[in-house]
């Protein structure tokens, strides 16, 4: 009897009857319990932030020193806090965005590793000191992004191109080879459309020519004054739009010989 195979499905009906008590007028062929639960596609974002000594210098902002002067690091801190709050308040982005923070001065440090944003309850305080080892910072950021992608692949989680946000107010004075390696890596990944990078300069002392070398597709931008909050607001909205995006352009694959018929 051709339809006897329905027997196994029907055995589950007793379990499903209790669900039907609540919704008796829903003529659905596929119900909630039939749906698969796939994880939300992720967008991994690394904030690679300069916390060298110059970021702690007082900055004139039109107010007197006794009533509201500020420092770049303080404004950066508030901008990052705002970024987290905006992402957490977005119904779609909060399940999609995963943020990691790398800081660099005399060393490159991961101060906040990737995790679900709701578990990242305490944003680390940035303490300005030391030099500007930008190459080391970017290389660490790229390593962490690559590691996160591997974890996604292992767990069968879909993901978008990773984002790297590089913010600095000075001139890279770490290891020259590390800087060149970092630049080559970002350029290579960008050319393969495997990375989205935002190089952002802070203040007038930024080495913009070096910053511009990190991206061929996106011009390095100088932050207007101390408009960190505006920048991070834009960034969070961009993440939100990406989280809600629909599949886009084609991509290039390595050419290979055309295969013939396949079989089941």
């Amino acid at each position: 009897m051709g339809y006897a195979s329905s027997y196994f499905y029907h055995k589950q009906c007793d379990v499903n009857i209790c669900l039907m008590e609540e919704k008796m007028d829903n003529n659905y062929l596929l119900r909630v319990e039939d749906l698969v639960n796939n994880p939300t596609p992720r967008v991994p974002i690394c904030l690679c932030l300069d916390i060298s000594g110059s970021m702690g210098a007082p900055v004139k902002n039109g107010r007197s020193m006794f009533s509201g002067s500020t420092t770049r690091i303080k404004e950066l801190q508030e901008g990052v806090n705002l970024f987290y709050e905006e992402i957490k308040s977005d119904e779609v982005a909060k399940y999609s965005a995963e943020i990691c923070i790398v800081t660099f001065n005399n060393r490159a440090t991961c101060v906040m590793d990737f995790a679900n944003i709701e578990r990242q309850t305490s944003i680390p305080q940035f303490v300005p000191a030391g030099q500007t080892w930008m190459g080391e910072g970017v290389n660490l950021a790229l390593d962490l992004l690559e590691k996160r992608k591997n974890e996604y692949r292992d767990k069968g989680v879909d993901y978008y191109q990773p984002w790297l946000v590089l913010m600095t107010d000075g001139e890279a004075n770490g290891n020259r080879q590390e800087l060149e390696r970092a630049i080559q890596r970002t350029i290579s990944l960008e050319r393969q459309r495997k990375l989205v990078i935002f190089p952002i300069g802070i203040g007038d002392e930024t080495d913009m020519p070096t910053l511009k070398r990190f991206s061929e597709r996106r011009t390095a931008l100088k932050l207007q004054g101390l408009k960190f909050q505006e920048f991070f607001d834009w960034l969070s909205k961009s993440v939100s739009r990406l989280s809600q995006s629909i599949p886009g352009e084609a991509f290039s694959l390595d050419q290979e010989g055309i295969k013939g018929w396949a079989e089941l």
Binding site: G2, Y7, L30, V36
Partner: protein, 329 residues
């Protein structure tokens, strides 16, 4: 007989931006061939809904007209070239008609065609093609997504020919084919385990006992609610299902067969089976619980239990607290 069900729904993202649904489906029976197709327009291509419509119609027409030529051609690479050339010509013609560039019509494309005991499957881009064989759901063609979730191959891509999947074979014990767009994958395809939702097997099985129109209606209802809510993307599904010709109607079944269909113990007392018989017959017209209770002369809570089971099995449909039989009697 092979029955066809097609569902598609505009995604929440497109509702917000007032963009038309870019998923299109098509089916064609001609020349002893049954062909179905599904195409998902590229989000970045402004006229991709036209492209999706064009290629889904074209591929069905092409395969029904040339099934034997394609099937019996041993050189699969040659068949791929012919298929892609036909798709390209169709898109170029549409582009000329719309005065646009061909790339504005980009879409994915999934298709299945059967003739007698033979089938052909073709697939460009993301989305999934599955099948049901020996009571098991299997994957015939996985999504072509590349590394990132928002990238895929389209009919207009230079890599379409190289990445296209083309499969042929004998139907043997295959009783159904499933084509779905990537929007539907969110709810109906486990990406980690690469498995289809068991709910799809339920639908293919119900095809033997319910009318195709009823399956179409209730599946669309699911798509317009649960399936759509699980993603921002358009969602679509095509099912090609063999009803086996074995089920002649509920009233032709023995008590033992009825027990299997109703999912009740085969030792169930015949009077209980008669209650189900009576409900299904009586509810050919819309009836309330009270009417059913009175007609069967049983307690209302017993009637409710019987009705709930039948609703859960999709043999009764419920609207505004009235019930109607949709199982083929």
């Amino acid at each position: 007989m092979w029955n066809i069900v097609q569902c598609s729904t505009q995604g929440l993202g497109h509702i917000k931006t007032n963009t038309p649904c870019q998923d299109k489906t098509f089916a064609l029976r001609f020349n002893g061939v049954t062909a179905v197709a599904l195409a998902d327009g590229a989000g970045s291509a402004s006229l991709s809904h036209y492209g999706a419509e064009t290629v889904s119609k074209h591929i069905c027409t092409d395969i029904v007209n040339n099934f034997d030529d394609y099937y019996y051609q041993d050189n699969g690479a040659e068949v791929k070239k012919q298929l892609v050339a036909g798709i390209t010509d169709a898109l170029n013609a549409k582009a000329a008609e719309l005065a646009c560039q061909t790339k504005e019509l980009a879409s994915t494309l999934l298709a299945v065609a059967i003739k007698n005991d033979c089938f052909i499957i073709m697939h460009i881009g993301d989305g999934v093609i599955g099948y049901c064989k020996n009571d098991e759901l299997k994957i015939a063609s996985e999504p072509e997504n590349g590394e990132f979730t928002n990238t895929t191959v389209f009919t207009t891509s230079k890599d379409a020919l190289f990445t296209m999947k083309l499969i042929k074979g004998h139907l043997s014990d295959i009783i159904g084919f499933i084509l779905m767009s990537d929007g539907s994958e969110a709810s109906l395809y486990n990406k980690k385990d690469k498995r289809l939702s068991p709910g799809l097997k339920k639908v293919i099985t119900l095809n033997k006992t319910l009318s195709t129109d009823k399956i179409q209606e209730q599946l669309q209802h699911s798509f317009d609610t649960y399936i759509r809510d699980a993603t921002m993307d358009d969602c679509s599904l095509v099912l090609l299902m063999d009803d086996g010709d074995a089920f002649k109607g509920y009233r032709h079944l023995s008590n033992f067969q009825k027990c299997i269909l109703l999912g009740i113990d085969s030792e169930t007392h015949p009077y209980i089976i008669r209650q189900y018989d009576s409900i299904l017959r009586y509810a050919r017209e819309k009836r309330t619980i009270r009417q059913i209770t009175k007609h069967l002369r049983i307690k209302q809570n017993i009637a409710k239990v019987r009705v709930r089971r039948l609703c859960n099995l999709n043999y009764l449909e419920c609207n505004d607290d009235t019930y109607r039989t949709i199982l083929r009697l």
